[in-house]
Symmetry: C2
């Protein structure tokens, strides 16, 4: 990779650029973004120069798309027919099937591989970008065919993902969306629904446990709307499974037999690392 | 209060003793507990001396019961007819109706007022006790009749609860149990059920959001069994309401109309304090 173009220079795109630099990338880093983001990114040294999407398509051999999902779909449409044959396009969207399917029709010439760095933080925007954001975090690539992993540009991308300290995984796009529905989209809705349900006058009589369960409820719809729009079926499936599990818990509560459920949960919680904080 | 007896010298009972001392209590602190807890409590200076429950009943003018709920019920039974007329008994149990009803038949002579310090931490046992445990946390007293709050021993207890920095509230016992079903017992089950449901092979593909939602899932049944046993109806009611709210979210997901739910949740989450950590 000689030239990388970050399309959407926010928290993820900016952090990827910084992480590449820290990991020894010496090529050029171009940025396609809104004027405010470009100004901040140039000031922070996140990108070397600002370009239009068309210029990025002509000049970059790696395009990294990190807008909200619908924005990524739109960018893919705009890239149709504009890339050089050797270019690789990847993205950082939180759902993969819609993006990968769109890319199959748009990214020719050029190659596409979907990606999802499972990392983030409270604050969005390039101002919050940091080189260490991906360290120790899962980074999923979603080839539609594993032979895609053998192409030199993809191998080089995989090399950089490992160099920036992420835990590289590969999953088929549909499988990615199915798993994330349970491990990310469902937990978000669980917290959001709980927060919306609690009576305001009851909330003061609560300990630290509740506050922890409502932390995700701070996440705004602007982040989640696109995710639900592009993973509706799997999210509903996860919700239905969770409702069934809660109904079973009601049954076990009535039967004074919740101990096996707690034992399974204790065991599962352990595999996600030691408890930290109340 | 001249003499306090802590019956069950663990995290809560031990912390209450330490908090009293720090707040200026100069009377005697007796402890009724298992040999191991007594040894630790004496070593840490949490109690002045160990006594039997009968001795505590004879000597203390404030008895503070902080065992698991069924242990508190058992202790109330053992105290039947043994207290001096001016003695006050209170407790730290997480559900109140069963305890208050039991106390009405057992604590005569003497007076009882139910209590629930909504505080805790990861580690249990007197070794984890600290004077600051209740600071800034809700501390609910549950009189069956507000006139109980006017008796001199209860007024003195309320004084000490404020002196140790807790946020004193009063609620009828049934109201306490109804509210805590939503703000504490439901969140616990939400986390436990989620942890038990996740497929082990899916868990690695998860961010920090999931880990936060599974923190409560580390809590063991030994802590929760008594709570569910004594608040079954309200916990089931809270679970049923939550299931209905999730079913509504499924409906709004299908209708691409989750934004109002997110807005309500954002608003509610704010009233529980600023977000801290991902």
């Amino acid at each position: 990779v000689q030239t990388v173009a970050i399309v959407g220079v926010g928290l993820i795109g900016g952090s990827f650029a910084l992480a590449l630099r820290e990991a020894g990338f010496t090529g050029a880093v171009l940025g396609v973004s809104s004027p405010g983001a470009i100004r901040d990114a140039l000031e922070m040294g996140v990108i070397d120069r600002a370009v239009s999407l068309d210029e990025a398509a002509q000049q970059a051999d790696l395009l990294y798309l990190t807008k909200p999902i619908l924005g990524i779909l739109d960018t893919l449409e705009q890239l149709r027919g504009k890339l050089s044959p050797g270019a690789l396009v990847t993205d950082g969207g939180s759902t993969k099937l819609a993006i990968v399917e769109k890319a199959m029709t748009c990214i020719t010439p050029g190659q596409f591989i979907g990606g999802h760095p499972v990392a983030g933080k409270e604050i969005s925007g390039v101002g919050a970008a940091e080189a260490g954001l991906f360290r120790g975090k899962p980074y999923v690539l979603t080839p539609t065919d594993t032979s895609q992993l053998d192409s030199p540009p993809v191998r080089e991308l995989m090399h950089w993902i490992e160099r920036i300290g992420a835990k590289l995984m590969t999953l088929p796009p549909a499988e990615h969306d199915r798993i994330l529905a349970s491990t990310s989209h469902l937990p978000q809705l669980i917290s959001t629904v709980l927060a919306a349900m609690l009576h305001p006058e009851d909330r003061p009589v609560a300990g630290t446990g509740l506050a922890g369960m409502l932390r995700l409820a701070h996440s705004p719809y602007s982040v989640w709307g696109d995710i639900f729009a592009t993973n509706r079926v799997e999210v509903d499936r996860a919700l239905a499974a969770y409702v069934a599990a809660l109904e079973n818990a009601r049954y076990q509560l009535a039967a004074a037999n919740l101990e096996p459920l707690f034992d399974r949960a204790n065991e599962a919680a352990k595999t996600l690392g030691p408890r930290n904080g109340a």
